[in-house]
């Protein structure tokens, strides 16, 4: 375990999307699996609908909690513009897991700036990008707040260190009992979507 290389996961999204809980779940999973883990996020003003990031690093020994630029094995984008903003964090041989979802920032609402039209194409220039219809899936299931469970499901397909049961255990302890069953289903849908895509070579 001590010599295991460190895996870096960078989450980017908008304040209020639930990014902290999503990254807490991944960090706890790694902690329970016996890894050294560090997790970092910035609180404060960023909670008011601004850009929010959170980072999880786990492996044999982790020094800094902050991922170096171009060194994230995974960039999980909860929102497309925010994924673009942090695209330079991902390794060229890493993977971007992207929620197909736009939240217009104030300058775009005011007509002072354009929301980028080709987010997925631009991201693909940085690393292999898997576009996940997490927002749509969650909407279909009746609650857009489950989009993060879909995304975590997709991420889980690329993390062989943790079994589906490990995920279920941590999700069960961190989500409200009333919403758990639906969230677990959302997680499964995301996991299946990513596995199917990987089989078809879509995300390469």
């Amino acid at each position: 375990m001590k010599d295991r290389p460190v895996i870096n996961i960078f989450f980017a999204g908008v304040g209020g999307q639930g990014i902290i809980l999503a990254s807490d779940i991944v960090a706890e999973l790694a902690f329970r699996a016996g890894f050294d883990v560090k997790k970092n996020e910035i609180h404060g003003l960023s909670q008011r609908g601004g850009s929010v990031t959170s980072q999880v690093r786990y492996g044999g020994k982790v020094q800094t909690p902050v991922i170096m630029e171009g060194d994230a094995h995974f960039l999980v984008g909860l929102e497309m513009l925010e994924a673009l903003r942090w695209a330079h964090m991902v390794r060229p041989d890493g993977r971007i897991i992207l929620n197909r979802h736009r939240i217009l920032p104030a300058p775009a609402v005011l007509g002072e700036a354009e929301y980028p039209a080709d987010a997925a194409e631009t991201l693909a220039e940085y690393a292999a990008t898997l576009v996940v219809p997490a927002f749509e899936t969650a909407s279909e299931m009746g609650d857009v707040r489950m989009a993060n469970s879909v995304l975590l499901g997709a991420l889980s397909a690329f993390l062989p260190d943790f079994s589906a049961d490990d995920w279920t255990a941590v999700l069960s302890e961190n989500l409200k009992p009333g919403t758990l069953r639906a969230n677990l289903e959302a997680f499964d849908r995301g996991r299946k979507f990513a596995s199917d895509a990987a089989d078809k070579g879509k995300a390469v």
């Binding site: 902690f31 404060g44 003003l45 902050v66 390794r91």
Partner: protein, 611 residues
């Protein structure tokens, strides 16, 4: 600690996964701390919140940092261990007791946690509080992860009692808000030290103080010897070509970015362990210092006559990430393209339903000079509100406006805007000064009954205390309206934050009335009071004049070129409906499950009242 954390500890043989702030709290608890005080401030807030979970500790949100430190110093004098935690600028407020408690020393251990903010993620400056340790002549420890946070707080209490001095523990944002694996211990229950009257030690009249200053210098000499042999300072010898002196989070970034370099890790930053660093320097060919913000260690090393490089390569501004160190010291760029260029920014905005929105819309529209203060409402400085001219420190809204208005024409006078928590922290003195000195300033108090920006901590204008919940008390302990009247403000008025016509009437004229006035704009924080009043929608009468965009509401957006209200974000505050010149924004009653109630007036919004 919380239940969740205890559960987790079972799963990994007694280990915990804690933030630096939680680990500080755990360490203080293990050290037997009895009294803990703080005023909320990012990134320090969660220390007291975590301590509030330990029943053995008497915790309080004090009204400001000076008060917090004095309360802790009093508990220390009475013979128990006490801790005061605060953000970096909070130490400015607490500086008065800080310098003199160094003279008096302690009875029970006294630890002060300063949480500094390189990178100013949520602060007005990047001040480097290591200089406070040097200026006040008290020792300072700097942990590099959560495990050291826990250990160093315990050590700090021991040093405090052994050397009769308050001890600083300095964190930075990345230490405070990073979680890492921690091995906790058990609580030590110190016996309460007896309080013996010692006026010559605790009463700093000049004749006593000068003797205590001599004593402080003797204590410092002993502490310097401790620093040079401190077991957590370390020489980590690798390549002898370059050695790096570093501390705190910079140590972790150096280890990440420069893994082959020898490192001199400084855990006790003050008194500076000069001999320890000199021994390290003599073993390496070239000596670097890596430290965020000011060249504190570098100056101490240079003063010893040791050649050293630091700020020639590294900026004083912002954080020093591992990426930055690789770029500036190894001249290695990341193996990835740079950031995508030309992306629209995503500035934070007032939350949907925020009770600050209406007043700042109005102040911006009237183009008043607005003397601002510290809180969520600092966002009013930014577009689209553009309704705050200045913001420097807690309480300065009232006093700066008073100064500004001494020389302004009546029509150009500034109004002061201050939140309830900031008002209690440092606004009361400004009101007393304003009235006593014949000022003419109108002060707008934004009363949402909570310290919102730091995560909704209570204050004397709230209806609960640490560990409680909103509504625990029938009314706040501090009545802002009554306090202002008692201090001599004759013109005190209260308005509903969501009633735009009333807000307009309240501020119109008072700016130039020629006497002090207080306008309390009252409305709950929408993150605390989660009641929703039914979403609004945009009707076909919309002419796309964009007036509602000036409210900067996240719930107001555009969908297929039409103005739209995002139902899942809209709280039904009704401010947009009141500013719409075409009355095109209306309640979406059909989508509101409680429409019966609304119709019965129980959930009536001010927008309906205006009509």
């Amino acid at each position: 600690m919380t239940e969740a954390t205890e559960n987790m500890s079972d799963k990994r043989k007694g280990l915990m996964f804690l933030s630096g702030n939680e680990a500080v709290a755990r360490g203080a608890w293990e050290a037997g701390v009895k009294v803990a005080t703080s005023y909320p401030g990012t990134p320090a807030t969660e220390i007291l919140e975590a301590l509030g979970g330990y029943p053995e500790v008497d915790c309080e949100w004090s009204v400001n940092e000076k008060v917090a430190l004095e309360v802790a110093a009093g508990a220390s004098m009475a013979g128990v261990r006490a801790l005061a935690s605060m953000k970096q600028v909070g130490v400015n407020v607490a500086a008065d007791p800080l310098f003199s408690t160094a003279y008096t020393g302690v009875n029970g251990g006294l630890v002060i946690v300063t949480a500094d903010e390189p990178g100013l993620h949520s602060s007005q400056n990047e001040q480097d509080n290591r200089y406070y340790a040097k200026a006040a002549e008290i020792p300072m420890l700097e942990p590099t992860d959560s495990q050291e946070c826990l250990e160093f707080v315990k050590i700090a209490f021991d040093i405090s009692e052994q050397y009769d001095i308050p001890v600083f523990v300095r964190l930075t944002t990345r230490i405070c808000h990073s979680k890492s694996v921690v091995r906790p211990g058990k609580r030590f229950e110190p016996t309460r030290k007896q309080y013996v009257k010692q006026a010559r030690k605790f009463s700093m009249v000049p004749s006593n103080a000068v003797q205590r200053h001599f004593d402080l210098e003797r204590r410092l000499t002993r502490l310097e010897a401790l620093a040079n042999t401190f077991e957590h300072n370390a020489h980590e010898m690798r390549s002898l070509e370059v050695g790096v002196v570093t501390s705190g989070i910079s140590y972790r970034n150096v280890r990440e970015a420069l893994p082959d370099f020898s490192v001199c890790k400084i855990a006790m930053t003050w008194p500076f362990p000069g001999q320890f660093v000199r021994n390290f320097a003599s073993q390496v060919k070239k000596l670097y210092v890596v430290e965020e913000n000011m060249p504190f260690l570098e100056e101490e090393i240079a003063a010893l006559g040791i050649p050293v490089e630091g700020k020639q390569q590294l900026l004083r501004v912002g954080e020093l990430s591992a990426t930055t160190l690789r770029r500036r010291i190894l001249h290695v760029s990341p193996g990835q393209k740079g950031p995508v260029e030309g992306l629209p920014p995503r500035p934070p905005q007032f939350c949907p339903g925020c009770s600050h929105r209406g007043i700042f819309y109005m102040l911006g529209k009237k183009k008043f000079v607005v003397s601002g203060d510290i809180g969520c409402y600092g966002l009013a400085s930014l577009p689209p509100y553009n309704a705050m001219d200045s913001l420097i420190c807690m309480g300065a809204s009232i006093t700066m406006a008073h100064g500004f208005n001494k020389v302004s024409d009546p029509n150009d006078r500034a109004v002061a805007v201050i939140g309830d928590s900031t008002f209690v922290h440092s606004g009361l003195t400004g009101i007393a000064n304003l009235v006593y000195n014949g000022g003419v300033t109108a002060v707008i108090v934004l009363d949402n009954g909570v310290t919102a920006m730091t995560g909704h901590q209570p204050n004397p204008a709230s209806t609960w205390k640490l560990g409680g919940k909103p509504g625990d008390m029938p009314k706040p302990t501090l009545d802002i309206e009554a306090v202002c009247r008692a201090m001599g403000v004759e013109d005190v008025t209260v308005v509903d934050a969501y009633d735009m016509a009333a807000v307009d009437r309240a501020i119109e004229g008072r700016k130039s009335s020629g006497r002090p006035a207080v306008i309390i704009v009252r409305g709950p924080c929408t993150m605390v009071d989660r009641r929703r009043r039914g979403a609004y929608m945009v009707s076909g009468d919309c002419v796309r004049c964009r007036t509602c965009f000036k409210l900067g509401c996240p719930a107001i957006s555009v969908e297929e070129d039409a103005v739209a209200i995002l139902e899942f974000l809209c709280t039904g505050c009704g401010i947009c409906a009141q500013v719409c010149p075409k009355k095109a924004i209306r309640k979406a009653c059909d989508s509101f499950p409680d429409k019966g109630k609304a119709a019965a007036g129980e959930d009536e919004s001010p927008a309906d009242k205006v009509k």
